[in-house]
């Protein structure tokens, strides 16, 4: 009858207790976890630390009207794990910083935390700390994730060289289509293809294993994740490496359900897929002399589709090649615009 139902009813300590109560047992290398001024963690032996932070802000990155709390938590964790994957790093720990509107239901907070912890657990990532505060405005979830990588296995954006092949994992555009369906209340969302798209948006799978294998096997020369879309990833990787790229328009693996949905709306599916964000896939380059190493990685990741979409050129600029025509690819997503 008088059950605390919102985070304002709970207060800060009870919110922290709610989060702590949902954590699995800490691994032995977590020396001090949540509850002290800071967490103390034993580093992995003979590795470098890898750090990334990604924030999801209500009204900018998600809409609570059609994004369930567990999906918000999952996506916040996925964005961080995907960044670690792009470096070839193995995730280890995460810190969760949340700014919570007082009206947020305690059950929704619990679901959000469960969503991020479930994905973290699948990647053996332990939540060791963070911060809880009230927000007078939107719900914000900021996660810092920490991984480890051996020095020679780290994948940077800057290593692509002319002649390298350009590869991408998974299917492109399904997440953008899924977001479009959810935001527009499209009946297509309930179809089999529609469900594949909304799942790609709500529960993306960060390519942690693929990134780690590419790094450990020294199979890729450069790697970036596609959180801000394929076009943005291509431009970022080429820019950081000081090279150009020619991408074969026909080779880009646009997701089949996304392609049908965009086509049904009279939208150019390839353009939409290139520009859409939220595909937590990896874009990477493979030097010719590393092809046999890369084939070994492919044999270990048969469940992840990998597609060669173009090649690296010495001349700067990223081009989308359609037969004898070519169009420039320009950068992506600007959250301020």
């Amino acid at each position: 009858l008088n059950t605390p139902s919102s985070v304002a009813d709970l207060g800060e300590r009870a919110v922290i207790d709610l989060i702590r109560g949902r954590l699995p047992a800490a691994p032995p290398w977590v020396v001090i976890g949540i509850g002290d001024d800071a967490a103390v963690v034993e580093p992995a032996r003979n590795t470098l630390d890898v750090f990334t932070a990604d924030a999801l802000v209500e009204g900018v990155h998600f809409d609570r009207r059609f994004t369930p709390p567990a999906a918000i938590g999952h996506r916040a964790m996925a964005a961080n794990l995907s960044d670690l994957a792009a470096m070839g790093a193995t995730p280890r720990v995460a810190l969760l910083s949340v700014a919570l509107p007082g009206s947020l239901a305690a059950d929704d907070l619990a679901s959000l935390v469960d969503g991020l912890l479930a994905l973290a657990a699948r990647h053996r990532t332990h939540l060791v700390g963070g911060n809880v505060t009230r927000s007078p405005g939107p719900l914000m979830i900021d996660i810092t994730a920490v991984g480890s990588v051996r020095r020679r296995h780290a994948l940077a954006r800057s290593g692509a060289r002319p002649g390298d092949d350009v590869w991408v994992s998974g299917a492109i555009g399904n997440a953008a289509a899924g977001l479009g369906m959810l935001a527009g209340g499209s009946a297509f969302a309930a179809s089999e293809g529609g469900e594949a798209c909304t799942r790609a948006y709500l529960a993306p799978e960060p390519r942690v294993r693929l990134g780690g294998l590419l790094g450990r096997n020294r199979a890729a020369s450069a790697c970036v994740d596609l959180s801000d879309g394929l076009a943005d990833g291509l431009v970022q990787l080429a820019g950081a490496s000081g090279v150009g790229m020619e991408i074969d328009a026909q080779a880009v693996p646009v997701g089949a359900p996304a392609a049908s949905w965009f086509a049904s709306l009279g939208i150019d599916a390839l353009r939409a897929a290139l520009g859409g964000g939220d595909d937590y896939e990896l874009l990477f380059t493979v030097p010719r002399r590393r092809r046999s190493r890369f084939e070994a990685v492919r044999r270990l990741t048969r469940d992840v589709p990998l597609t060669r979409i173009g090649r690296v050129t010495a001349e700067p600029g990223v081009w989308l090649v359609h037969g004898n025509d070519r169009d420039p690819v320009t950068g992506g997503y600007e959250h301020f615009r």
Copy 2:
């Protein structure tokens, strides 16, 4: 005439460039800094990693009407460095995650970044990454700081034992008084004492050196920082250690200008100082057998006032003792209330 004046004019990439452009050269142990999917950092040899995150939210933790941007940046960094200090850790790197209202002036963002970088530089802390996004509501600054500590030198909250002495650094209550003066537009803020208070609020000095010395010299059995106030710190430390405390009301080092200001308003200065937050001081316990080690630390930190305020008891509960009377001290600050 058409100078970009707000972060909305700049866009996300230019905001990142603005931040990168203000960074000093990276130390050699930063293998990959800002600009890739994640940062890669060489750990300090034979140490554990220490992680903390603290967020400042406009309207909850600061008011832009009387908090200059450089002070917002300084305070965000100070909160994190203070947490590392409380663990006895040496700060090394930080990640900055900001959610920026589009209307924020680019100059104000630059000042905010300069404020946090200046404090970071004084503590040899390098900014290696983070996240930039738009906020549809308040300005938010979330910092994750990473330090290092040798296993035997880490200070936890849980190590206090009956018979230990309870010590606190600095003066208590000046920051709370400074905030009160700024918020109320008090003329007292312009006096010498008032300036000491507003400085304590706007530019707190995290006790990084003291925390490191207490840890390295194994002089303290437990330590906590006072970001949420002395009352809260006492209750947290006693609770985590499973002990009680008797605090001598007369010994608590209430800042002289804060005491005058609170008295002029008819407020009990000790109560206000105990309850007020934003004192980035350290509260720690010293076992009797470690007193000579602690005296050695005191000789190395003569510029930091250190005051013995009470002792640890076996019986749980924190008491403020005035002669023959005693009042219970209950926990502090709840940002949701």
